[in-house]
Amino acid sequence: MSPIPNRVRELRTANEWTQAELADRLGVTRQTIISVETGKYEPSLGLAFKIAKVFERRIEEIFEAQ
């Protein structure tokens, strides 16, 4: 499975949040954040919307369509 490009790690570090802090904000586990950041896991549309909301961006600014 090829990695799914996204800017989650970049935006998280720009906000100076740890993976655990972002996980808490999104209501998911840290493992999920790790897997999303590394592109191993493609989040659901609902989680993608949440991610976009916490970073105050549009989804397409964070996730790259394959």
């Binding site: 499975m1 209501g27 998911v28 586990t29 840290r30 493992q31 999920t32 790790i34 897997s35 191993k40 896991y41 989040p43 659901s44 989680l47």
Partner: protein
């Protein structure tokens, strides 16, 4: 509940409260105890008696409680963990069917000692298949 059954990795997921762990631990202990008690009763009362039948259905209630708690635990998982456990269950299901078929066919093909190998032994392998599925699924998403 899932962490007790080995289905959850507590270092990677939301931690349930210690009270919840205690309750779930007690429920699982009662569940296993009900099965052992049923076996003991059945082997010590007349075959076919009302007591034996009652003992045989004794584990149903604690099993339903475990099912309820496991369902709650699954609902409390985040989406990645749900996917991982679904893939693990799918692997366990298919491997269990494979083992049942293989044992059944081998019983027809050769003289298998049923005390050592039969469908009655498959249940013991189900957790093993589940853990194997979990390991494979986590390997994919880590």
């Amino acid at each position: 509940m899932l962490y007790i059954l080995g289905m959850e990795n507590p270092t990677l997921s939301v931690h349930p409260s210690s009270a919840a762990r205690l309750v779930d631990g007690a429920i699982v202990a009662v569940w296993f105890a009900s099965y052992i008690a049923a076996r003991v009763i059945i082997t010590n009362v007349p075959h076919g008696s009302a007591m034996a039948i009652g003992a045989a259905i004794l584990p149903i209630v604690p099993t339903l409680v475990v099912l309820w708690r496991a369902t709650l635990a699954i609902r409390g998982l985040d989406e990645l963990h749900r996917r991982v456990h679904l893939e693990a269950l799918a692997a366990a299901f298919v491997l269990t069917v494979l083992m049942l078929w293989t044992l059944g066919l081998l019983e027809l093909a050769i003289n298998l000692n049923r005390d050592n190998w039969s469908y009655r032994h498959v249940w013991a392998y189900m957790p093993l298949f589940y853990f194997l599925g979990l390991a494979l699924a986590w390997r994919r998403y880590r």
